[in-house]
């Protein structure tokens, strides 16, 4: 029998690392086991071609919570941002792009009413997002158990909605569950402006701008703008891997033991109570508390096993909607790409191809029927503008999130990956005509690749859609929404739990608080 730990955490993604560190800081002995060779989960930097590295999954930091940065002293542990407060450049085919910031939008030919409407719309939605953000810091209330903390949290939520005032409250209730397509039509004229805003609402999801819940997803994104440091969109120095490296350093400083290259085969149980884990190599490690940073489907259906959980719960887990629809493109470039109308100073910002709402919706249409988008929408980052550690001197790396690439492509990804990559590069070349000649290496990751590399069921990097039926007390499912699960001693700490993903870290933090509350040991 090997060493006994107070807590074992499965998966060293950012939420796992955050959870481990908070727990270890209270004196608990914590072991983290990670299937991959490096920690970081979907927030890693890795080489995709000799000399060229990239943030392999998530590539911009916009939700990471400042409280975690300060609680865990991440700056002291090496976290450095190469660029903050990035603008969003909405590309236009004719080069007349728009530049969006938190409060303003600029561009040739943009009407004065659109400019005003933009800042008013952003202010209004930020007021709504602030309410959502408050709920992110506490466990979601359960409605049926008359718990005092839960009732207080629920009352606070209700009160903060009421405190919006009559007009705002009415507006929030009107648009809260509907789609962004219809809402944007009310206030805006510019197709390009509506396109990029609609794109922000569906990024990383299995939703189109006309899908219900896309105001909710937009609000979720806006919560990042409310952080005290205000740095809405940032590029970490050294890529996303540097964020998790600093988390690793903080974890190890707190005494967390981290073992990589150690996939877990199963969670060990005594009927319905956790006793430890067994690794693929057959090693059994004991612990009365096991925390899973893996997605809920992997956790329950694979690691715990459906037969060890009651049927009603199994069915809820099985029904979680988490099919990845986003692909990731990485290009090694011989020089700076030249986008029409975009000058060098703007190249380091966030660049989006989403020329209209209809464009994005049509791109989504294909994916509904098992096809990839003929005209995909994308979010582009060229981190090497700010950070020369990722590529040889004078060379560059382009990283892009591509929508939409269905997990279960009807024709099968093996035969289609290359043609989809060509199609994406062709689309890029419409906006950056010389780019094809600059490409020295490339990599396209479609959802099954993301599933395989990052061990995420369905390749959905938020571990489940953000929709009302999978939100707050319903995330991931009723019965596991407060990080504890029907399996005694098993907790969830990943993006599948409240508040969700997006390299925010709060799921890991909240889980640690809940574990300390419920497990009064050590």
């Amino acid at each position: 029998m090997s060493k006994q730990y107070d807590v074992i955490i499965i998966g060293a993604g950012h939420n796992g690392l955050v959870c481990a560190t908070y727990l270890a800081k209270t004196g608990r002995s914590v072991l983290m086991v990670e299937a991959n060779k490096q920690v970081g989960g979907a927030a890693i930097t890795r080489e995709f071609s000799p000399g060229y590295s990239v943030s392999a999954c998530a590539h911009l930091l916009h939700l990471f919570h400042p409280q975690i940065v300060s609680d865990l002293s991440l700056t002291n542990h090496g976290l450095k941002l190469a660029a903050t407060d990035l603008h969003t450049i909405a590309l236009a085919a004719d080069g007349d792009h728009l530049t969006l910031t938190r409060n303003s939008v600029n561009g040739n030919g943009l009407s004065a009413s659109d400019r005003t409407a933009y800042s008013e719309f952003q202010n209004k939605l930020r007021r709504f997002a602030r309410i959502m953000q408050k709920t992110f810091m506490v466990r979601p209330p359960r409605l049926v158990h008359k718990n005092m903390t839960d009732l207080m949290n629920l009352a606070k939520l209700g009160l903060s909605v009421r405190m919006l005032g009559r007009d705002d409250m009415r507006e929030l209730l009107r648009i809260g569950a509907i789609n962004i397509f219809d809402v944007l039509q009310e206030d805006f004229q510019s197709e390009l402006l509506k396109g990029v805003m609609g794109f922000d609402a569906v990024l990383g999801s299995n939703l189109g701008p006309r899908s219900p819940n896309t105001i909710l997803t937009y609000l979720y994104r806006l919560t990042g703008q409310l952080h005290s440091n205000g740095s809405a969109i940032s590029v970490p120095s050294g890529g996303m891997g540097a964020v998790t490296s600093s988390l690793r350093a903080a974890a190890e400083a707190a005494g967390v033991e981290i073992r990589t290259d150690m996939p877990v085969k199963q969670v060990l149980l005594d009927v319905d109570t956790v006793t430890g884990i067994e690794t693929n190599s057959g090693e059994q490690i004991n612990s009365a508390i096991v925390v899973s940073n893996a997605d809920p489907k992997t956790t329950f259906l694979k690691l715990v096993g459906a037969r060890n959980i009651e049927t009603g719960f199994v069915r809820r887990i099985d029904n979680i909607r988490m099919q990845g629809k986003a692909a990731k493109l990485h290009l090694a470039l011989d020089g700076k790409p030249k986008f029409k109308g975009v000058d060098e100073n703007q190249l380091g910002h966030r660049i989006v191809i989403a020329p209209s709402l209809t464009y994005v919706e049509r791109a989504f249409d294909h994916s509904k029927y098992g096809e990839y988008s003929n005209h995909p929408a994308m979010e582009i980052s060229i981190p090497t503008i700010h950070d020369d550690s990722l590529a040889p001197t004078g060379k560059h790396v382009l990283s892009a999130i591509i929508q939409y690439a269905p997990y279960d492509l009807r024709a099968g990804w093996e035969s289609q990956r290359e043609s989809f990559k060509q199609l994406i590069v062709d689309k890029l070349a419409e906006y950056a005509p010389g780019i094809k000649d600059q490409i020295s290496a490339s990599e396209l990751m479609v959802p099954p690749d993301i599933e395989k590399e990052f061990n995420i069921h369905g390749g959905h990097w938020h571990h489940g859609e953000y929709t009302l039926d999978q939100f707050m007390m319903l995330r991931p499912v009723p019965g596991a929404a407060q990080y504890a699960t029907p399996v005694n001693g098993l907790y969830l700490c990943g993006a599948g739990s409240h508040p969700g993903g997006g390299v925010m870290g709060l799921a890991g933090r909240n889980a640690s608080i809940e574990i300390l509350l419920r497990e009064k040991v050590a």
């Binding site: 319905d272 459906a306 037969r307 959980i309 009651e310 049927t311 009603g312 069915r315």
Partner: protein, 395 residues
């Protein structure tokens, strides 16, 4: 106008040519998709055929699922509240199954037909639940309701009837045992099971052989007073035996709309069917909690004063507060007792509690009301030793 076979809402069982010819009353009721006889001729005669001779009941509409695969027993152990590990081939077990709230979805019997083959018989349909429970198990679930037809052959002379039918060795079948016999060029499965609380058997065969089986059975049973019976007679004997019925004595949990209207096995007096010393099963967590914190209801068998059946009656305590209600009631000719099954609020229903049922009855349009004192009875109202004796005596 004719109705296409595929469009029919009401199905006839494979015995229909025989049952309809014998049904003098033309009293039929729907049971799942099928139509079945409520009463063939005279209810009293049918009742006494069960208790004094041989009674035959067409149970074709019983829901039947075939469970196959190497994980079958482990699967059944997760599905059922009772430990199924002891169920060896050739045996039958009664159990209930629950949802995650620990509320009963249904009760029924599991037949271990042969190595890696089981049949689950129940009143309600459960395919969706059975398939959902199958996740993580190497099992196949098939609905074979329409592929297997059945007759209950019950009563003191039932064994002699079957022996006369040349089912050699049928007398050696113990309660909850099953055996195969060659019949009409096929296999006839006979199990010593039933819903009457009496000596009795159930016969299972492919629909194509149904009429042949009926004819052979009635030819053999003639000297033993064989009679077909309908649902009404069966209902009296099952209450006498203290058996509960889904949809009558409890609402199957998947049909419950209002929260809390389901019943746990403890609340149905089925504590003996809940066994915690086995792997995770559906309802385990909730039932453990209930065991610790106590149940909301108690299910009791009542001996009711007088002779007016207490159907659908409220039950009161000595202070005239409502403490429960009757779920099933009848006059029991065999026990010579006015009997009822009832669900009472905790803690009512203890042996010496003073409780009453409120019985209404009318005599030539004059309504009368009785407050009938009830006595809680342990066990079945009628439980003859012949139910268990192997081999059965010749009557």
């Amino acid at each position: 106008m004719t109705v296409r076979e595929a469009d029919k809402r009401v199905l006839q069982t494979p015995f229909h040519s025989r049952t309809s010819a014998l049904c003098e009353t033309n009293l039929w009721s729907p049971w799942k998709a099928y139509t079945v006889v409520d009463c063939y001729s005279v209810l009293t005669n049918e009742y006494f055929a069960i208790r004094n001779a041989t009674a035959v009941f067409d149970l074709t509409p019983m829901t039947k699922y075939r469970i196959t695969g190497k994980d079958g027993l482990a699967y059944l152990d997760k599905l059922m509240t009772r430990k199924m590990g002891k169920l060896s081939p050739g045996r039958v077990m009664y159990s209930v199954w629950c949802n995650d709230l620990g509320h009963v979805l249904d009760d029924g019997t599991v037949f271990h037909l042969k190595e890696n083959h089981w049949r689950l018989c129940s009143q309600e349909r459960h395919l969706d639940w059975l398939l959902a429970t199958a996740m993580g198990f190497d099992v196949d679930i098939d609905d074979e309701t329409d592929d297997v037809t059945g007759l209950a052959v019950q009563g003191p002379t039932s064994c002699q009837t079957l022996k006369t039918m040349n089912l050699q060795g049928v007398e050696n079948l113990k309660p909850f045992q099953l055996k195969y016999f060659p019949f009409d060029g096929t296999e006839l499965m006979v199990s010593r099971t039933g819903f009457t609380g009496d000596l009795g058997y159930e016969l299972w065969i492919a629909p194509a052989h149904a009429e042949t089986l009926w004819d052979a059975l009635f030819a053999a049973g003639k000297p033993y007073g064989i009679l077909p019976i309908g649902t009404h007679a069966l209902d009296i004997v099952r209450i006498e035996a203290g058996f509960i019925q889904a949809g009558v004595d409890f609402v199957p949990a998947l049909e419950v709309v209002r929260a809390g209207r389901g019943r746990s096995p403890f609340e149905l007096g089925l504590d003996w069917l809940v066994q915690f010393d086995k792997p995770v099963f559906n309802g385990r967590k909730a039932l453990l909690e209930e065991k610790e914190k106590g149940s909301r209801y108690r299910f009791v068998r009542l001996d009711v004063e007088g002779n007016k059946p207490a159907n659908e009656s409220f039950i009161y305590n000595g202070k005239k507060e409502i403490v429960g209600h009757v779920t099933s009631a009848t006059w029991s000719p065999s026990a010579k007792m006015n009997i009822a099954l009832a669900s009472l609020d905790m803690p009512w229903g203890r042996t010496d509690d003073e409780i009453y049922t409120e019985v209404y009855y009318n005599r030539e349009l004059q309504w009368n009301r009785l407050m009938a004192r009830c006595r809680v009875v342990g066990g079945a109202f009628f439980d003859p030793p012949r139910r268990r004796k192997t081999p059965p005596l010749n009557y």
